[in-house]
Amino acid sequence: MKVIVDQDTKVIVQGITGHQGMFHSGEMIKFGTKVIGGTSPGKAGQKVNGIPVFDNVADIAHLEPEATMISVAAPFVKDAAYEAIDAGLKLVYILTEHVPFHDSMEILYNARRKGVRVLGPNGPGITRPGKCKIGIMPNTIFRKGGVAVASRSGTLTYEIVNAITQKGMGESTVIGLGGDPVPGMDFIEALELFNADEETRKIVLVGEIGGSNEERAAEYIRKNVKKKVVAYIAGRSAPPGKRMGHAGAIIERGVGTAESKIKAFEEAGVKVAEYPIDIPGLLE
């Protein structure tokens, strides 16, 4: 099944001449992703990692890109997302951190109106081993297999994916939802995809403090998911009212504690790992 992207997905990078855009477009190509172009206003005609640079997304539209990775500064993310939606792209992945959540909200609802999926902001993207990678996950940690991962964290995902691979298992799809309070995609949307995907046999959810996304995911699993699901929750030690790095990782008015999330998962039959490294053991 095509889970958001596959080996034929044509990808562009908005902000390709920036530090991140330059480095990660090269890494994506090495992974096998079809990166067909990039944008950077005023820099049309240049090449980055052999990829042609254009001024505007409209100038690449004839090559029929399907997905974009947005790596521009936070104040310009909204415009970049709308530019991609206007050009008919179907996946808008936002790498940028510190996007105001009012912008994220507006982008998300306008995207939905146009049938466009948003991933991020402030997440590592999506990787499907052997097929396609859009984003910044390290190329070397993956192996094709039957475990799907959805996560609100970046580095922690790499740690867990690496542990899964080292134990001789592999991954079907790994999705980074991002660390913001208003993510384009949430656990339930990821679970719907993993549940329907025949290549996915087991599912890992990596949550953290803040909001009630994990609690709702637990409810969804109880009702709809027959595949094995295991989880890890970061932030057991976090004090209330403090943002732990991610804009979304904060316990506010008693909502969003690790205890509540762990309890919800356990009640839904989802085993929760004490340490990230315990995930492969729970999957076996």
């Binding site: 609802y109 996560s151 964290s153 970046g154 208003v182 970061a234 403090k242």
Partner: protein
């Protein structure tokens, strides 16, 4: 970022949301002569000011002067009072609750109201709370106000007043990138007007690039947290004795959790972020050393941030700051072997797995 009550009310006034007449003072010399009964309110970013003695009433010049003298410079629940809001006293006939906030689950703004105002909304039974999602594309429209007025049992006059306030409140929420705009209580005054007796406005810190009118100072953060923020680090001070440097918010949180499960007590949260430079590592050590922990744990999963870069940074920091306390390092991922070799040559122990590193550092710290 939380705004002080007076700053929130200034915004309300600008958007014609009724607030009591008043003025702010930072010293007794700014006090205007007494004319009518007033409330003197400490400007601190914490709830429950009234109960903690941070709000005083004055019915003559003498009591006004003594209230100002007593409150300025005092501490309300640990927060120093640097400013006072001197406000015309309201004749409270009824107190309501009104707010607009982000509902993270719905990924939409919610309008919340209750006929039981003046107390924390969390303590109000759900049956007395009106909640309405605001569609981000449609925005606020008068039908929402009519629903709210009906729930609150408002007569035609109050309905008219609240429906004038609501679109302006939503405008404030949108225009200032708010996480929360709250009026608690919204008072029905003796003269029949609805008046915002308090204000709580929280602005999304990520939006401050387009709200340059607000100062960068954030009284909720410690000086060290502010310094770290200036330098681009996510940093939170905690009360333990193990300094922590990790990369990625999730992994940093997981590191603190693992320490705690091993009866270790972290001194801080520090996320290096996704950069690959020794300078970033050296500067991170500078910050952590300022927090004066007994030992330091570095936990890195290399990707964009490469393990050998971090290792070189650690060696450089150890020399630069002449660090004598124990440093325990875990390096895994991109260029981990090179990284561990660099550390070994400089006499620093490095693990490839997280748990042995955690156990070791807790031992050094004198825990478990």
């Amino acid at each position: 970022m939380n705004l002080y009550e007076y700053a929130g009310k200034e915004i309300f006034r600008k958007f014609q949301i009724p607030v009591p007449e008043g003025y702010v003072i930072a010293s007794a010399s700014e006090l205007r002569p007494y004319t009518s009964p007033v409330v003197v309110k400490s400007q601190v970013l914490i709830g429950g000011r009234g109960k903690s003695g941070g709000i005083k009433f004055a019915k003559d010049q003498k009591s006004l002067e003594s209230a100002v003298k007593e409150l300025l410079g005092s501490k309300v629940r640990g927060f120093t009072v640097n400013k006072l809001l001197v406000e015309q006293m309201l004749e409270i006939k009824k107190e309501y609750y009104l707010s607009i906030t982000l509902n993270r689950t719905e990924r939409k703004a919610n309008l919340i109201a209750s006929p039981s105002g003046g107390v924390e909304i969390e303590s109000v039974p759900e049956s007395q709370i009106f909640r309405k999602s605001i569609d981000p594309i449609i925005g606020y429209s008068d039908f929402i106000g009519r629903q709210l007025a009906k729930f609150m049992n408002f007569d035609a006059e109050l309905s008219k007043q609240i429906r004038a306030i609501l679109p302006r409140l939503y405008e404030v929420f949108q225009k200032y990138d708010c996480e929360l705009v709250e009026i608690n209580p919204l008072v029905l005054n003796g003269d029949g007007r609805l008046v915002a007796a308090d204000s709580k406005v929280i602005i999304d810190s990520d939006s401050l690039f387009r709200h340059k009118e607000f100062p960068k100072e954030d009284p909720e953060r410690t000086p060290l947290e502010l310094e770290a923020q200036e330098k681009g680090y996510s940093f939170v001070e905690l009360d333990g004795n193990i300094g922590v440097i990790a990369n990625g918010a999730g992994l940093t949180m997981a590191t603190l959790d693992a320490l705690l499960l091993h009866k270790g007590r972290p001194r801080n949260f520090l996320d290096l972020g996704g950069t690959d430079s020794t300078d970033i590592v050296v500067e991170a050590f500078d910050l952590v050393l300022k927090a004066n922990p007994k030992v330091i744990l570095v936990n890195i999963f290399g990707g964009v941030t490469k393990c050998d870069t971090v290792a070189s940074g650690i060696v450089e920091a150890k020399k630069k700051y002449d660090i004598k306390r124990n440093i325990v390092v875990r390096l895994s991922g991109v260029r981990e072997i090179e990284g561990r070799e660099i550390l070994k040559q400089n006499g620093i122990e490095a693990f490839s797995e997280m748990m042995p590193a955690v156990e070791k550092v807790v031992k050094f710290a004198g825990g478990a």
